[in-house]
Amino acid sequence: MTIKFIRDHGQHYRPRMACLAKVEAMVLEMQDSKSGVKSSEQKLNITSIPHVVTGQDILAWIANHMKVDAQEAQTIGTMLVAYGFIYPLQDHKKLILKPDVSLYRFQTPYFWPVQKWKADNTDYAIYLAKRNIRKKGTLDVYEQEYYKNLHKWLNHKWDFIVMQAKEQYRAGKERNKADRVVFDCQERAYWIVHRPPPRTHSAMDYGVDRLIDPNAEENKTFDYYRRIIIFTQQAIMRSKVKSTVSLGAILKHMTTYKDHDPFLAPCLPSNPWQTDDSSYWDLNMRNVEIPTKMRVERWSFSFFELLNDPRGRTDFKVFLKKEFSGENLAFWEAAEEMKWGTASSISEKAQTIFKTFLAPGAPRWINIDGRTMGLTVKGLEHPHRYVLDAAQTHIFMLMKKDTFYRYLKSPVYKDIQKKALSPAPHNFTPSQLEQNAQNRKPGINPIIIWQQEEEERAKAAAAAGPIDIKKLMASKLDRK
């Protein structure tokens, strides 16, 4: 028994699906014998089943009724099929509307998608058991997987599922042959919509369940009006950006990132979510030796991108070492560590940072203007998490305006651009895709990655201690 009276204040409501009611109204109008869609009969071996419609008839009716052109009618028709109000008789796994003589039939209202009723796992288990009986144990591969999983999860109900499946099968046999066939087709179509076969998606897919029932009207109490008033007052006080400015910014972002978006441009070598092949992730790991061309190109977009990418940051560090100006980046990283680190370590971190970077005559003294320096030093007497924020921003702007452009023109960057990989796109056949799906394995444990990074950081800290200028000059003098 499912726990019916859920008092955990969790998210249990499906989101609003207002389109379903509208589509229902349209399907009802299609049923009119005078002005609806023309239906004919489907001839099978001995019987013939009425009420079958062709794809082109549906399209013509939609175009006529809604006064739209053919392409729009095609999209609307595909939506009808994808939601499961109409199901195809041939090629039943592909839920699209074909504008030719392929046959479709209307789905019974019990199997229509409704926002309130979720397609239950128990019902799916009963359906799979019935199908098992009918096909004598030869289910599809994905159905077999579902069956095994459901047997594990719903084990306590399994007796019930088997009993109910047998009873439903026997009850179904009481109807005449044509109706039996129609019912089988209907049920199959329903479950293809709600449990889609692999590498297809269901139109009923949605994100997260909602916390409150979206169909329930909210009581307009005093609290409700108070919230609305506060919201509108704050909205008036907000500073507004001119739309030319914001639209210009959006346009600029789109043109730069257009080729890097995995929805708009194909992901090289292949999108792991679609092909189950994780080479894209392997090539773009945090500490990979040779990055991909797309990644390197991304570093040139903005300094923020370069710093955020761990590989980019290491590359930038190499460049700065050559230029002997690593203290800016070191200070920035130390400030980040203080911001994100534990509260107990803030005071000692503040001390080390002061001694290394800010004190007059410090070994890695950073060059910030007098006012910021004064504010920061005063703040360090009573350090908190964001005490270095002003200095950090100043240093960031310094690096961005000066060092970043030199980096982009430097031989280090050009070198890595040449070395970067450009993987060839994969071209998998459907059988290879099945293979990939079966060979999925979990990736590296993130704890291991974190441990590796800690080791590297310790090594780097030991190797590159604060460069003592006096010692360096002394060693050079010695040589002379």
Binding site: P109, Y110, G137, H156, D159, Q168, A171, C185
Partner: protein, 250 residues
């Protein structure tokens, strides 16, 4: 030992009642799936009403029996495990019944029978559901005696019945302390295939039409096999007829 015998009797009675409830639930689901389609009719609404009433009687009977059995503290652990399993069967049946009743209320409200502008969905089902309802009610033939306004009158009854079922489920959950996830199923995966000796015979001759899309030539072969089987069958019949005729004449 009278106690064990009584317990066994209780178990068997429970099992038969649960089987009956299971059957009625399955038939009810078939009937509800025909609502709103072209096989909807006044008879269907009446069948739904009768099946529902029968289901409720069975549910109440089952519930009293099972609660009486479970309240008994003097039963052994094995017996208790068995009764818990039966309880899980019962509650799962009731859940399905409740959902189907709510759905039949919604669909019944949106597809009233007598309004001429409201068309039924042309699903391709044209037969009647009399046989399914007869199976549910365990009678040979169904008698129809309802009047024309059954669809609207029945909906009010349906609402009250849904409220009753809700209340019953709530009481059951509160009063009976059974952990449903602790029940272990007796059937293993694929159990439904084992006892399909009787149901298997029916598939000979049933049009396996849902496989009507061309499947890599396998479908063509299966069709050929069916034609062969038909030819051989008729040949055997002919031979049997001829032999019989000869026997009679000789």
């Amino acid at each position: 030992m009278p106690v064990d015998w009584g317990a066994d009797m209780g178990k068997d009675e429970c099992k038969t009642m649960l089987d009956a409830l299971n059957k009625v639930t399955a038939c009810y689901r078939h009937l509800v799936s025909a609502l709103g389609s072209t096989s909807d009719s006044q008879n269907l609404r009446e069948e739904l009403k009768k099946t529902r009433k029968k289901a409720q009687e069975l549910a109440v009977a089952n519930r009293t029996k099972l609660t009486a059995l479970l309240k008994d503290k003097s039963i052994s652990n094995d017996d208790r495990a068995e009764y818990e399993r039966l309880w899980v069967l019962f509650t799962s049946s009731m859940e399905i019944l409740e959902v189907d009743m709510k759905r039949s209320l919604e669909i019944g409200q949106s597809f009233p029978l007598k309004v001429p502008t409201r068309h039924f969905i042309q699903t391709g089902m044209t037969g009647s559901t009399t046989t399914v309802a007869a199976r549910a009610m365990s009678v040979q033939n169904m008698k129809y005696e309802a009047d024309a306004s059954i669809d609207t009158a029945d909906l009010k009854d349906l609402e009250t019945e849904i409220a009753q079922v809700d209340q019953m489920m709530e009481e059951m959950e509160m009063k009976v302390q059974v952990a449903p996830w602790a029940v272990e199923a007796k059937q293993e995966a694929g159990a439904e295939l084992k006892s399909t000796v009787s149901v298997g015979n029916s598939s000979v001759g049933v049009i396996s039409v849902c496989e009507e899309e061309p499947k890599e030539g396998g479908e063509g072969e299966a069709g050929l096999m069916k034609v062969f089987a038909g030819i051989i069958f008729t040949a055997v019949l002919l031979i049997a007829g001829i032999l019989g005729y000869l026997v009679i004449n000789l």
